[in-house]
């Protein structure tokens, strides 16, 4: 068990609900992954559309914690209003705060992010800021009242894995009390395991599961990778060495010191 915000969870995998071939595959993949937190979003709806209602019913039946996002927001004002709308619609004070600063990389705007985070934490939100692996920005977000940080692995949807494991490791070492969730860019189960081995508290995956040939099996694979990586971190990994060191005992090696050796 671990604690996310004020909630006790078993799984350290959070998953997104977008890009799946069908709603049925999405719900099956979420179940197979063991994830207990699922991200959702808000979009414009015309009166005749009833899709929002149907989607929300589907998510409710999964019996998971929902984490709404502010995806697509580019200004502090948009992000704050979106967070407030999400709180009323999804009946949760959790918000994955995205303030995007660059359209090509979808890199977060750190200045807008800190400003929006400060406003929302004062309003009682549990802010999950989508940020880079910049340690100083991370500190500013903690000062703004965040307890959770979501550094990217690599750009959203790129599947490039962890671009900068060294900085994630540094964040872990320097911010031992923050909850670190690697969000974005993870492509393979081994990327997720690596993030967990570095000491991150959890990972959030969407595209890597939804765009797999078999999303349900990939959901299960990520569930296992995250659990294995965490167990490895907790068990304490051996130190790397410069040279080989035989694992099989040398004493009593057959044919030792015979001709030709």
């Amino acid at each position: 068990m671990w604690t996310l915000g004020d909630v006790e969870l078993e799984s350290r995998l959070l998953v997104g609900s977008a890009l799946y071939p069908s709603p049925e595959i999405m719900t099956s993949a979420v179940r197979a992954s063991g994830a207990q937190v699922v991200t959702v979003a808000l979009r414009r709806q015309m009166p005749a559309q009833k899709s929002g209602e149907g989607f929300w019913d589907l998510i409710r039946r999964l019996d998971v914690h929902v984490l709404p996002n502010t995806a697509g927001c580019r200004t502090v004002k948009e992000a704050v209003a979106t967070a407030q709308m999400a709180r009323e619609l999804f009946e949760t004070s959790w918000i994955k705060l995205e303030v995007i600063g660059d359209d090509y990389t979808l890199q977060p705007d750190p200045l807008g992010l800190v400003e929006a985070a400060a406003i929302l934490t004062k309003e009682g939100f549990e802010v999950f800021p989508y940020t880079t692996e910049d340690l100083v920005v991370a500190n500013r977000l903690l000062e703004a009242g965040c307890r959770i940080l979501m550094p990217w692995g690599s750009p959203i949807g790129s599947g490039r894995g962890l671009m900068n494991p060294y900085l994630l490791e540094t964040m872990r070492a320097r911010l031992p009390d923050a909850t670190l969730i690697v969000d974005a860019g993870i492509g393979k189960p081994s990327d997720a395991a690596r993030a967990m081995e570095l000491g991150c508290d959890a990972v959030l995956i969407n595209s890597a599961i939804a765009l797999a040939d078999e999303p349900v099996r990939m959901g299960e694979a990520f569930g296992k990778a995250v659990a294995a990586g965490r167990m490895g971190y907790e068990a304490g990994m051996m130190q790397e060495r410069e040279t080989a060191s035989p694992s099989t005992p040398v004493v009593g090696t057959p044919f030792w010191h015979m001709d030709g050796h």
């Binding site: 977008a18 979009r43 407030q84």
Partner: protein, 66 residues
């Protein structure tokens, strides 16, 4: 008067409250949430929120997201 709803220009009754307007536009208020001119308006305030000429409404619902 003309207002903008989700980026589209719409003709509605003058000085309607948000309550009346949502009904006029055909929305089920339980399944959407609203911002007027980039300010969130809670459902509890619809009755006292008067929408003015050229106000910009965003009316949103739940969708899948990452």
């Amino acid at each position: 008067m003309r207002i903008t709803v989700n980026g589209e220009s719409v003709e509605v009754t003058d000085s309607a409250t948000l309550d009346q307007l949502m009904q006029q536009l055909g929305y089920e208020t339980a399944h959407v949430v609203v911002a007027v001119n980039l300010e969130f308006v809670p459902r509890s305030a619809y009755g006292e929120t008067v929408v003015k000429e050229s106000d910009q409404l965003e009316i949103v619902a739940a969708v899948a997201g990452g």
